[in-house]
């Protein structure tokens, strides 16, 4: 009886050996797979209980920080800028995941980035909690606030983007309606859920980042691109173009294309007008004919050179691609010439195009982020002005600039700043299934001072703002743009 009992003892050793071998396999070899599995909430929780880095705007203004609290997650994410910066920061929600910069810059903020891991090893030895790195933005609070206030004062739905032309720094980026990200970062599941449901059910949706996450027909603002293409293909600012109020599109079964309000260009009775005047008065018939004359290929080439190539852009956040469309026939080429048909751009893209014109055609890489730093504020990475090359030849860019100065002079709307020369272009874009009876999207894109540009701005107000069918870019969007320019030039 003792021998089999001893064997039973051996069997127990084997059993425990098997358990140990299997557990070692699970905890050592499979560990990384299990940790990284998307269904494993622990990794998320661990990330949430880490001291996350700060997001700051220029001048050290804090947009997102982690305050120590006395609960299981240890740190509460706080957004002091709330609605004004929500489309930049996004929110950091346990339940719904991070969005905005919280998502895009998560590696830095959470401390997961390789540059921060080394620091954390020493943190482990010294026994401190691993902290995340910081993200410092180029956003200028005064400009951001001006843009946000201008939009929300009138309850406009839309977006504003401001860029410093010489550096590509993004000075402001606003999307309205916005939301308060604070309740979404609450440690209470219930608070998160209520806040989220309110956002999901809200109409128009605050969850769409209209500056970078939605595309709109650019309307007449796209005439800047057509003009740049034309000026490189035999046109000069003085080249006469048609002043007719209506033209018939070729091969389109008699379909016509008219100027705004059915007027002749510059009220010239239908006589030819110089290209400059056609842009200043935003004559559709003229630019439809210019587009048809120049041809799809040079227009596409110019659009792609300016970034309208369908590809998403990384500015520190993801910008959806802007596109020209297929341009299948001459009629659509004519419509493309006035920024309709299949042309679709983000407000960010429009600001970037204007900034490029302002910078003499030299296209600068747009940067939302100034630098990222370690918890001890030593620099991890820093952005510096970086040129993507001449998207438009310098003389052509200068000619477009002069045409934009003329355009601004013809543009209605309040907010003009005495002694300041602004170069601008408005847009009033039809959209929807019944374009004539749908309030248009209104645009205004501009830079100033025209001779030494410090800021380029694009404003989009959806669905006519507060003017409905009567809305135009000059009446609705232009005053917003001018107030943002004023804030940007007011200086620190």
């Amino acid at each position: 009886m003792k021998r089999p009992l001893r064997r039973l003892g051996t069997a127990v050793i084997v059993m425990i050996g098997l358990l140990l071998a299997n557990i070692a396999y699970t905890q050592v070899i499979k560990a990384d797979d299990y940790r990284a599995d998307p269904n494993n909430k622990r990794t998320l929780v661990a990330e949430y209980s880490r001291q996350r880095g700060q997001i700051t705007a220029a001048g050290g203004v804090v947009l997102a920080r982690s305050d120590p609290v006395n609960d299981q997650y240890q740190y509460q994410r706080v957004y002091p800028g709330a609605e004004v910066y929500a489309d930049l920061t996004g929110y950091y929600s346990m339940r719904y995941g991070p969005t905005g910069l919280e998502r895009n810059q998560n590696d830095i903020l959470s401390g997961e980035s390789p540059e921060l891991i080394a620091g954390q090893l020493s943190d482990l030895i010294t026994g401190r909690d691993p902290r995340g790195g910081n993200v410092e933005l180029n956003i200028v609070p005064a400009v951001q606030q001006a843009a946000y206030s201008a939009m929300t004062d009138k309850s406009y739905v839309g977006a504003v983007v401001a860029i410093e032309p010489s550096t590509g720094k993004i000075l402001a980026m606003v999307s309205t309606p916005s939301y308060d990200p604070n309740p979404l970062a609450s440690h209470s599941d219930e608070v998160q859920r209520q806040a989220y449901n309110a956002l999901v059910n809200a109409d128009p949706s605050p969850l769409v980042n209209r500056a970078i996450g939605a595309v709109y027909p650019p309307g007449s603002t796209f005439k800047l691109v057509i003009a740049a293409a034309a000026l490189q293909n035999g046109y000069t600012p003085q080249t006469p173009v048609t002043g007719e109020s209506t033209i018939t599109l070729p091969d389109a079964g008699g379909a016509t294309l008219s100027n705004f309000g059915g007027e002749t260009c510059a009220n010239g009775g239908g006589a030819d007008v110089p290209l400059t005047e056609a842009l200043a008065f935003s004559c559709n018939t003229a630019f439809a004919q210019v587009a048809m004359a120049v041809g799809a290929v040079p227009i596409r080439k110019q659009a792609e050179a300016l970034g309208v190539d369908g590809n998403p852009i990384d500015i520190g956040m993801d910008v959806v691609g802007s596109r020209l469309g297929d341009v299948p026939d001459t009629a659509s080429l004519a419509q493309t010439g006035i920024g309709q048909r299949d042309v679709a751009v983000t407000p960010f893209q429009m600001a970037w195009i204007t900034a490029t014109i302002a910078n003499g055609g030299d296209r600068m890489v747009p940067h939302l982020i100034a630098k990222t730093t370690k918890p001890d504020l030593s620099v991890i990475s820093q952005t510096s002005p970086e040129s993507l090359g001449q998207a438009i030849p310098i003389p052509v860019a200068d000619e477009v600039r002069d045409m934009m100065i003329a355009s601004e002079q013809e543009t209605l709307g309040s907010g003009g700043i005495s002694g300041l020369t602004i170069a601008s272009k408005t847009g009033t874009a039809e959209h929807g299934n019944d374009p004539k009876n749908t309030p248009p999207h209104t645009w205004y894109t501009a830079f100033a001072p025209a001779d030494n540009p410090k800021v380029a701005v694009a404003v989009l107000v959806e669905n006519g703002g507060d003017l409905g069918l009567d809305a135009t870019g000059s009446k609705v969007a232009a005053p917003i743009g001018r107030s943002v320019i004023a804030a940007a030039l007011a200086g620190p």
Binding site: M1, K2, R3, P4, L5, R6, L8, G9, A11, V12, I13, M15, I16, L18, L19, L20, N22, I23, A24, T26, Q27, V28, K30, A31, D32, D33, Y34, R35, D37, N39, N40, K41, R42, T43, V45, A46, N70, D71, Q72, Q74, H187, S188, D189, E190
Partner: protein, 497 residues
Amino acid sequence: MSKRTDTAGGSKDVVTPRRPTGRTAELLMLIFASVIVTSALVLVELNQNRALDWSLAYYGGGYLLALAIAHLLIRRYARYADPLLLPVVALLNGIGLVMIYRLDLAAEIAAVNRGDEPPTPPQATLQLVWTAVALVFFLIVLVVVRDHTVLQSYAYTLALVGVIFLAIPAILPSSLSEVNGAQIWIKVPGLFSIQPAEFAKIALIIFAAAFLVSKRTVLSTAGKRIFGMVLPRARDLGPLIVALLLALAVLVRGKDLGTALLLFGTLLAMLYVATSRISWLVIGLLGFAGGAYIAYRLFSHVRVRVDIWLDPFGDPLGSGYQLVQSLFGLGTGGIFGTGLGAGRPDIVPFASTDFIMAALGEELGLVGISAILLCYLILTARGIRTGLACRDGFGTLLAGGLAFSLALQMFIVVGGVTRLIPLTGLTTPFLSYGGSSLLANYVILALLVRISDSSRRPPEPRRAAPLSRPQPLSEVNTEMVPVTSKGTPGSTAGGAA
């Protein structure tokens, strides 16, 4: 006939009557276990950012005090008992308590976040009460069962009790017996619920030990020799068939795979130990394989378990959720663990009961889980050693059976939560939350302590005793009588080595 030589050698001990009992070592190890458990508690509090105060020291001190009482009782009633048994159990029980407390904290936070009241009373408090009750059971068994061989006389009574205990939940309406799909409970609404199988297990092991010892000559000698194995006669298959039927009944009626596996495995192991015949193992394992196959084909709950085992990630948020979360916990813990109180073991369902090893694996890592498994190895090894050193066949088989049942139960549940074998519901002995399990396992501990006391006790001559210890040892002497005299019924068994 080693015990005879022991007895002969014992006469030399008259010169030095006080053989080391190991009691001081036991006390030191108990203090050590309390220190580990208290430190673990402090770690939990620190990692949960809770204020440290002297109440922790009281908890640690209280735990040590309870253990010290158990220790004094062993000194009094089983002074030659194996000194390792109680400290190892104390350590396991203490670690279990800390983990249950830690899971309570998580449940409290979760409740507060939901806006609910935290569950009262917390599980740790209940488990602490159960630990105290279990220690009382331990004491009662130790005092009442002064000689384990007495249990032989109650073998059939215990068998009946065991079967009735197993049968009650099956007979009761499911409202009084079903928890989480397994009909294995006796619920007294509003008061408590017990898992009778935990106690039935002990009764059946005692019965099996007595029965097998009395029949072992027949079971181990008769039979034909085929393929190099001596096959038992058909009529001797009775006990094994009974064991199989019992297991199947538990499986079918109570949907309790774990207990079925545990009962069958333990009884088969005891049959093998009693007879030394491999053929029993082979027949038993073939029977098991056949039974398992039939169960797989017939019962959907068995099939579900096996399918989850084969592919837990096939439905990670549905049927595979428990096992997947358990594996995530273990994986996240890695080699060194997250630290006690710093992980999220509460994500795994049933973390305080069936899945407590996953919780420990997450926070203590491979290192901690290995240490805990080694504790079980020590416990089982000391139990088996108790059996080996025992002077009577019944004691040998009983100690071996009890020790093996602890190891097998631990293997079934830990193997299940770590996906070594299909997951079946069982408690992890001494670690898991659960009164029945804790009480039953302390009874097993008491029996092992009792048997080890008798096997390690020097056969002191009667006249030597009053000299050294006037009062208590007189009792011990009366206790000695049954060991030698009552050994007669099983002496054919007990004599053979």
